[in-house]
């Protein structure tokens, strides 16, 4: 915006935009900013969620760093987020490339691939819970595969991967959609020019497609990383944090101990730290990946 314009009083057009924006701003403040501030204040108390409480200063924050359970939930959440982000983006990019090429029943297939995203997280979780508990072990036993013959959800070394599979299966749909729209922004004459220079197959993808859809890669990576860091429904329906607290994600821990258990104040501190971590990661991703974007 240039300076002269900014000093002018608001035009009638801008003013009506402002009035349309106002209710949204108020709602956002009421339901997002205000709770955030409240939570921040509660993080300095031993509030149980009800009744009387004392101010405890920075004790909650000091405790967070010595709490093995919190540390464990961070370790699980990051492992989960990195693995599922990579998995989701690789698979959905491949799917998008397939769905963007000249194939039979393209629109129908695009619709079908989008279905998992329409289903609710809890529904998907309960269906997969049945699958992992009864169907997969039955298949494993029938085929004589030892690793599959007992439920993955019951094993501390496999449960996290089962959740990765379910969460990825569900979020691939959205990312595929974004990649498809990205691929459609690449003009075909660039490919023609590239073909003359001998760029086909992998080379074409590596040097033409990927740099040109880089903005979409950025968006997808940031979105799926953020979603994965806040994983909740799948854990609620598949493992409830078990077995042996091995799949307790940060948001599940905050909900479970903050609301159900009497740790409202302590988990508020955890939420504040988690908020800062997510913002930091997203900013880093935008900065780093943004520098790799190409403009035509």
């Amino acid at each position: 915006m240039n300076r002269q314009k900014a000093k002018k009083p608001l035009g009638s057009r801008e003013r009506s935009y402002f009035f349309i924006l106002l209710p949204i701003l108020i709602l956002f403040f009421l339901f997002n900013t205000l709770p955030l501030i409240q939570g921040f204040l509660y993080s300095f108390t031993n509030f149980r969620g009800f009744g009387s409480y004392d101010w405890v200063g920075l004790r909650n924050y000091a405790d967070l760093f010595g709490d093995g359970r919190v540390g464990n939930s961070y370790r699980f959440t990051f492992l989960f987020a990195v693995v599922s982000t990579v998995l989701v983006n690789v698979v959905s990019l491949i799917l998008a490339l397939g769905l963007n090429s000249k194939i039979y029943a393209k629109s129908a297939l695009r619709g079908i691939y989008f279905v998992p995203n329409v289903l609710g997280g809890l529904v998907v979780g309960y269906i997969f819970s049945f699958f992992f508990t009864y169907i997969l072990p039955a298949i494993g036993t029938a085929l004589g595969i030892a690793d599959l013959s007992s439920s993955w959800l019951a094993r501390t070394d496999r449960a996290w991967f089962a959740i990765v599979l379910v969460a990825a299966w569900q979020s691939i749909a959205m990312n595929t959609l974004i990649y498809i729209s990205g691929l459609q922004t690449v003009p075909s004459d660039v490919y023609e020019a590239g073909a003359i220079d001998g760029a086909t197959g992998w080379k074409r993808f590596r040097s033409i497609t990927l740099p040109l859809i880089m903005p979409f890669v950025t968006v997808n990576l940031v979105l799926s990383m953020k979603n994965a860091l806040m994983v909740f429904d799948q854990i609620m329906s598949l493992t409830q944090g078990g077995p042996a607290q091995s799949t307790e994600s940060i948001s599940y821990l905050i909900y479970n101990n903050g609301m159900g258990g009497g740790q409202f104040g302590y988990q508020s501190a955890n939420a504040v730290v988690f908020f800062i971590v997510i913002v930091a990661i997203s900013v880093f991703q935008m900065k780093y990946l943004g520098s790799k974007e190409e403009q035509l």
């Binding site: 349309i20 209710p23 072990p137 042996a244 101990n257």
Partner: protein, 434 residues
């Protein structure tokens, strides 16, 4: 003119949105001069009996409108509502750490003036006293129904093989071995849901550990490492007699499997019976006290306040709340509830016990019972997950060490309050129920 109209429209839009929200939250303001009393109860499986009682009560008392709400996950709902300062008048919850915390946070009314309390068995009132984190004058809960927990068994299977109820730990283990020899799975575990690990834990601990252990530890007189060593060993031993892959199945799976006769016994409380009967209505279930000690006389029944009523601070009308409690305590209503929920009445009097408590009758009649140990554990400590971790293969020493250190962390404020109480009032006597 047109411009003004536009602005007016935008303003109206904004105002209506905000107003709309106000209406939603203000919601139900009552009418017609009736006193509305809300009772929030946490037993989802008792919804229908509560609805019936409420309708009946409202017919008898035209000046009162009793509303019963029984949401899913009621304790969480209650806590969330308390955050919003929207408390119900009466709550029906269990005698556990939720009650301790509500009491400690000064959320409950003193009901010692309530006459109905005199008809309640003292053993259950004592249990509530023991749940006070810091000793407190007054009475804050009316015990209504208790449950009993131990071992559920399939009477038909026992009859078929001629097995009898074990009375000592050694007899129990040899019975399990006999079952395995006969190709019958002794227990069906539901350890995918970590909370089910607490059922055998409580049933073993009630025989081997003093019921006031939590307060003893808070006062620094003993440690859990000392108290729970044998309990941990014995629960681990029991898991040897489960189905294949005991950590793969949850509570619903296990109830279904037990109902279909896939195991002879199940380590769970009487509260599981209604669920089991939905799968197989004809199953013949009885229960017995888990014998964790080597001498039959030392066994105790695990029984706790499964449903008790408290009046919340800030209720509009305490006297009307008492009338609701009076109604609930009528003999015929107690019996109705006990029959419907397979529960044990906390009220004195001759109530018929449900048939699946036949094996426990003697203990109930002789008052040989004690509360569940986990009613004293803070829920955020997740003792159930700690036990599950141990059963999954953690060493006993590590497990008990974690239990003790976590306990100190999560009960820090309580321990500090107790210490303060001790310096002000002298030594805290920790009464124990026998």
């Amino acid at each position: 003119m047109k411009q003004h109209l536009k602005h007016l429209l935008a303003l109206l839009l904004a105002a209506s949105m905000i107003l709309g929200m106000g209406v939603i939250t203000a919601g139900c303001t009552a009418d017609s001069g009736k006193v509305t009393i809300e009772l929030l109860e946490y037993k989802r499986e008792a919804v229908s009996i509560f609805q019936k009682m409420a309708a009946d009560f409202n017919k008898e008392n035209p000046d009162i409108n009793l509303v019963v709400s029984s949401p899913n996950d009621a304790v969480t709902v209650l806590k969330t509502r308390l955050i919003k300062n929207d408390a119900p008048d009466i709550i029906g919850i269990g005698g556990d750490s939720t009650y301790s915390n509500l009491l400690d946070a000064d959320m409950l009314e003193d009901i010692s003036s309530y006459k109905g309390l005199q008809s309640i068995k003292s053993v259950y009132k004592e249990m509530d006293k023991n749940l006070e984190l810091v000793p407190k004058a007054g009475t804050y809960a009316l015990p209504y129904a208790a449950n009993a927990s131990g071992v559920l068994y399939n009477r038909a299977i026992f009859k078929k093989y001629g097995w009898s109820i074990p009375t000592t730990w050694e007899e129990l283990i040899s019975l399990c071995k006999k079952m395995q020899a006969a190709k019958v799975t002794p227990f069906y575990f539901a350890l995918k849901d970590s909370w089910t690990s607490l059922a055998p834990w409580n049933a073993i601990a009630v025989d081997l550990v003093e019921p006031n252990i939590a307060q003893e530890v808070n006062l620094g007189r003993t440690t859990f490492t000392k108290a729970y060593s044998e309990v941990a060993d014995k629960e681990k031993e029991l898991t040897k007699y489960g189905q294949k892959d005991i950590f793969a199945y949850g509570y619903n799976d296990a109830c279904t499997a037990f109902a279909k006769g896939q195991s002879a016994m199940m380590l769970i409380g009487s509260y599981a019976v209604p669920q089991i009967k939905t799968v197989n209505a004809d199953i013949d279930i009885d229960s017995f006290v888990l014998p964790a000690s080597s001498s039959a006389t030392e066994n105790k029944l695990n029984s706790g306040n499964d449903l008790q009523f408290s009046i919340m601070k800030g209720t509009k009308d305490k006297a009307t709340c008492y009338r609701v409690l009076d109604y609930m305590l009528k003999d015929e209503n107690v019996q109705k509830y006990v029959d419907d929920q397979n529960a044990v009445s906390c009220k004195t009097g001759s109530f018929t016990l449900p048939s699946m408590l036949d094996g426990m009758k003697l203990y109930i009649q002789q008052n040989k019972m004690a509360d569940y140990q986990d009613h004293h554990y803070p829920s955020e400590m997740s003792a159930d997950a700690l036990i599950q971790t141990y059963l999954l293969g953690q060493s006993k020493a590590d497990f008990l060490q974690t239990f003790d250190t976590n306990w100190k962390r999560y009960n820090r404020d309580t321990i500090a309050k107790l210490k303060k109480y001790e310096t002000e009032h002298g030594s805290v006597s920790t009464s124990s129920v026998s």
